[in-house]
Assembly symmetry: C2
Homo-oligomer: 144 residues x 2
């Protein structure tokens, strides 16, 4: 895959909550997972070890700022972090708040679906997205 | 889950390649995935943001030392990194060398199985495990 055909070069990949010269933080529209965020390198870089150490550290500082904001705003049961990139080999981190009653728990979100999440619980989580956006912006502004 | 019932408190979780007071690096016996490594916090800590920043950075330095060693010894198509912990909420990173012909590619290893990996290719990868062990030990000794 070249940068020309890469979805994360062609577009933002979600609702941009923060952006600087190295990275952007986007809220993604994953059905059943309100508050699912990705931290995406702006450059078409394949692996974490292809980044300079300082950039690697800044990218991860953003990942942990998001994790902290998700814990504060959503109080999830667990946070899942992953950098996979098998389909889109452009460095991006999945930062996923998990709940014991979500669609796949305790499986990873890429695993077998376990249940239909309750609409009331999902609505309750969606109602906290404004607080999540604010918490992410505050933490990244403080770090930047 | 209490530390008393935690699999990663009760045992090493694999063949220990490196250990210090904060973490251990283990080679795990995952059928079809020679070179699959986990970096495991020794303490029963739940999330990355529960660790002090310096410990978080040291744990990740070990993850990237393993990633570099896997790239050097195995030349995988992609590296997958993940900290999930839904089943075992004791901080551990999966560091997984992926190949285009492995059992799940391009799915995550937790996703739908795609094929039966060829025994010759698996044997070839297993033959490089001695080089991987040496590369991990060398990189972590240099970092430690």
């Amino acid at each position: 895959m070249t940068a020309q055909s890469c979805a994360l070069c062609a577009g933002d990949g979600g609702e941009v909550l923060y952006r600087d010269e190295l990275l952007r933080v986007v809220l993604v529209d994953e059905p059943g997972y309100p508050g699912f965020v990705r931290v995406i390198a702006n450059a078409h870089v394949r692996e974490m070890t292809d980044l300079a150490a300082a950039d690697r550290q800044r990218l991860l500082a953003a990942v942990f700022a998001v994790e902290s904001a998700q814990r504060e705003a959503l109080a999830p049961h667990k946070i899942n972090l992953a950098s996979l990139g098998n389909v889109t080999p452009h460095l991006h981190w999945h930062v996923i708040p998990r709940f014991a009653d979500d669609a796949h728990f305790p499986e990873p979100v890429w695993g077998a679906r376990q249940r239909e999440p309750g609409p009331a619980r999902l609505a309750e989580r969606r109602a906290r997205l404004a607080a999540l956006r604010a918490a992410i912006a505050a933490r990244l502004a403080a770090a930047g």
